[in-house]
C-alpha cells in the first residue's frame, strides 16, 4: 500500500472544510471527511456523480454549476456564497471556492473545491445586523396592516353588505313575479360577495396568528381550518424556545400557505406538521398523504403554482430556504428552514 503524503492526510482528515476534486467536466473524483460531515454523502455514494447534485434544483435549472466552472476556467478561481443541498435534501449556506487545476503544460486537469458551512454564522450575523432589524420591522408592519384591513373589511364592509342583503330579502317577500326574481338575484350576488370578503379577511388575518406562542397559534389554526375540511392533522415539535416574533410570523405564514395548498389541491386525508430547532433556526416540514405532484420527480413544480413563490420568498427574505417535493401518489412535502436568533432587545 503506497504511503500517503502528509498533505493527503491533512486533506482527507479535515472535518471543518469539504475539500474534494472534480474532473474537467465536473464529476466528483475525491471526497474528504469534511465533505461527508457537511454534505452527508459518503465517498462511495457521491464519487463519480456530477457536482451539480450539490446545488438546489432551481440553481441547476438556471445553469449555475456549469457557469461556475466556466468562470474558474477563465479566471483561475471562483468564490461564491449561496445555498447548497445536503444528501437529506436540507440546505446549508456555503462559502465555496473553486480552483482550476492545471498541469505543467497548462492543461486543465480538473478543479479543486473547498466548501465551508456558514449556516449558523450567517443566521447569527443576519439577526444582529441592520438587515435583520429591518426584516423584523417589515414583518411586524405588514402583519399590523393586514390585521387593520381585515378588521375594517369585517366590521364595516361586510356588515353593511349583510344589512343590504337582509333588506333585499325582505323586499323580495313584498314583490311578485319578475321583480321578486330580480331582487332575489341581487341578494344572491351580495351574498356571494360577502362570502368572498370573508375568505379574504380569513386569509389576511387567520385564526391563531395573534396567539402568544407559535405552536399554540398553529394548533388553533389547524383546529379550525384543517379539521373543518375532514382532514386529520398531527403537529409535533422540539422547539427549545419560542422563536422571535418575526420568525414565528414567517413560519406561521408559510405553514398557512402550505396548508391552503393541501386543502385545495392535494386530496389528502392527513397532514403532519413538524417543527424542529436546527442550526440556529427552525426547520419545518408540512407533509400530506395526497396525490403528490402530477409531474414525477419534479422538486419544484410549475413556477408560480401552489403559492410556491410566496412560500419561497418569505423563507428567503427571512434568510432561509424553502423546498417542495412530491411524486404522484406519494403525497407532498413542503420543507423550509428559517433562522431564529433573538436580537436580545425588546
Amino acid at each position: 500500500m503506497p504511503e500517503q503524503s502528509d498533505l493527503e492526510l491533512l486533506v482527507q482528515n479535515v472535518v471543518d472544510y469539504a475539500i474534494f476534486m472534480l474532473d474537467p467536466r465536473g464529476h466528483i473524483v475525491s471526497w474528504n471527511a469534511g465533505a461527508e460531515r457537511i454534505k452527508g454523502w459518503t465517498a462511495g455514494e457521491i464519487v463519480g456523480r456530477h457536482f451539480s447534485a450539490l446545488y438546489p434544483p432551481a440553481d441547476v435549472a438556471a445553469g449555475k454549476p456549469a457557469r461556475e466552472l466556466e468562470v474558474a476556467v477563465a479566471e483561475g478561481r471562483l468564490e461564491d456564497e449561496g445555498w447548497r443541498v445536503r444528501k437529506d435534501g436540507t440546505r446549508f449556506w456555503a462559502n465555496v471556492i473553486i480552483t482550476a487545476l492545471r498541469d505543467d503544460q497548462g492543461r486543465l486537469r480538473g478543479f479543486g473545491k473547498v466548501t465551508r458551512d456558514l449556516t449558523e454564522r450567517r443566521a447569527v450575523e443576519r439577526a444582529l445586523d441592520e438587515r435583520g432589524r429591518l426584516l423584523a420591522h417589515l414583518v411586524h408592519a405588514q402583519e399590523m396592516e393586514r390585521r387593520r384591513i381585515a378588521w375594517d373589511v369585517h366590521d364595516d364592509t361586510i356588515q353593511s353588505m349583510v344589512a343590504v342583503g337582509m333588506r333585499l330579502q325582505l323586499l323580495a317577500t313584498r314583490l311578485t313575479g319578475e321583480h321578486q326574481a330580480a331582487v332575489t338575484r341581487l341578494n344572491d350576488t351580495v351574498d356571494a360577495a360577502v362570502g368572498r370578503l370573508r375568505n379574504l379577511t380569513f386569509r389576511l388575518h387567520p385564526p391563531g396568528i395573534d396567539s402568544t406562542g407559535l405552536v399554540e397559534g398553529l394548533t388553533r389554526y389547524l383546529d379550525q381550518v384543517v379539521s373543518g375540511d375532514g382532514l386529520t392533522y398531527e403537529l409535533t415539535h422540539d422547539l427549545a424556545a419560542e422563536p422571535p416574533p418575526e420568525t414565528s410570523i414567517t413560519i406561521f405564514r408559510i405553514c398557512q400557505e402550505a396548508l391552503t395548498n393541501v386543502r385545495k389541491h392535494a386530496r389528502a386525508r392527513a397532514v403532519t406538521v413538524r417543527l424542529a430547532s436546527a442550526e440556529q433556526g427552525v426547520h419545518v416540514w408540512v407533509n400530506d398523504d395526497g396525490h403528490g405532484f402530477e409531474h414525477a420527480g419534479e422538486n419544484d413544480p410549475e413556477p408560480g403554482h401552489f403559492g410556491l413563490i410566496e412560500m419561497r420568498e418569505r423563507a428567503e427574505i427571512a434568510g432561509g430556504w424553502c423546498a417542495v417535493r412530491g411524486n404522484p401518489g406519494e403525497g407532498a412535502t413542503v420543507e423550509f428552514w428559517v433562522p431564529a436568533v433573538s436580537r436580545g432587545e425588546p
Binding site: 369585517h154 366590521d155 361586510i158 356588515q159 353593511s160 349583510v162 344589512a163 343590504v164 342583503g165 337582509m166 333588506r167 330579502q169 325582505l170 317577500t173 351574498d191 360577502v194 362570502g195 370573508r198 385564526p207 388553533r220 383546529d223 379550525q224
Partner: protein
C-alpha cells in the same frame, strides 16, 4: 291565537339592527318590543320588557357576552341568541360560556334567522 313572541334586538350597527327588527317584525307571531345599540342598553331594556328572546350582537360596545349574562340575571326567562359577524371558536366559546345556546352568523338567510328565533322561544 297565542300571544306573539316578544323579541329584543341589540346591535351597534344601525343598518343591521334596523333591518333585523324589520325582518322579525314582518313575521306573523313575532313582535319586536325593544331595540338597543349597546350592551348596557340591551340589559336595561331586557329587564324592562322581559322579552321571550334577545338577539345580541357579539362585538357591540360593552360586549355581547356581558349583555347575555346580565339579561339572564335580570330577566331569567329570556332566551339569548347571538348574532355575530365572527364565527371563530373563541367568539363562539365566549358566548357559550355566557349561557348562549344559539349562535347565528351574520349573512345567514332571513328565513334561517327567523326560524332560530322561533326555536329559541319554544326551546
Amino acid at each position: 291565537m297565542s300571544d306573539p313572541v316578544t323579541v329584543l334586538v341589540a346591535d351597534d350597527e344601525p343598518l343591521i339592527r334596523e333591518v333585523l327588527a324589520e325582518v322579525l317584525e314582518a313575521e306573523p307571531g313575532l313582535t319586536v318590543v325593544a331595540v338597543a345599540a349597546d350592551a348596557g342598553e340591551a340589559a336595561e331594556l331586557a329587564e324592562l320588557h322581559r322579552p321571550a328572546v334577545a338577539v345580541l350582537d357579539v362585538r357591540m360596545p360593552g360586549g355581547g357576552a356581558w349583555a347575555a349574562r346580565e339579561i339572564r340575571r335580570r330577566s331569567p326567562a329570556t332566551r339569548v341568541v347571538a348574532f355575530s359577524a365572527y364565527g371563530d371558536s373563541a367568539s363562539v366559546d365566549e358566548m357559550r360560556q355566557a349561557g348562549v345556546t344559539t349562535y347565528l352568523l351574520k349573512g345567514l338567510p332571513n328565513t334561517a334567522i327567523v326560524a332560530a328565533v322561533r326555536r329559541a322561544a319554544t326551546g
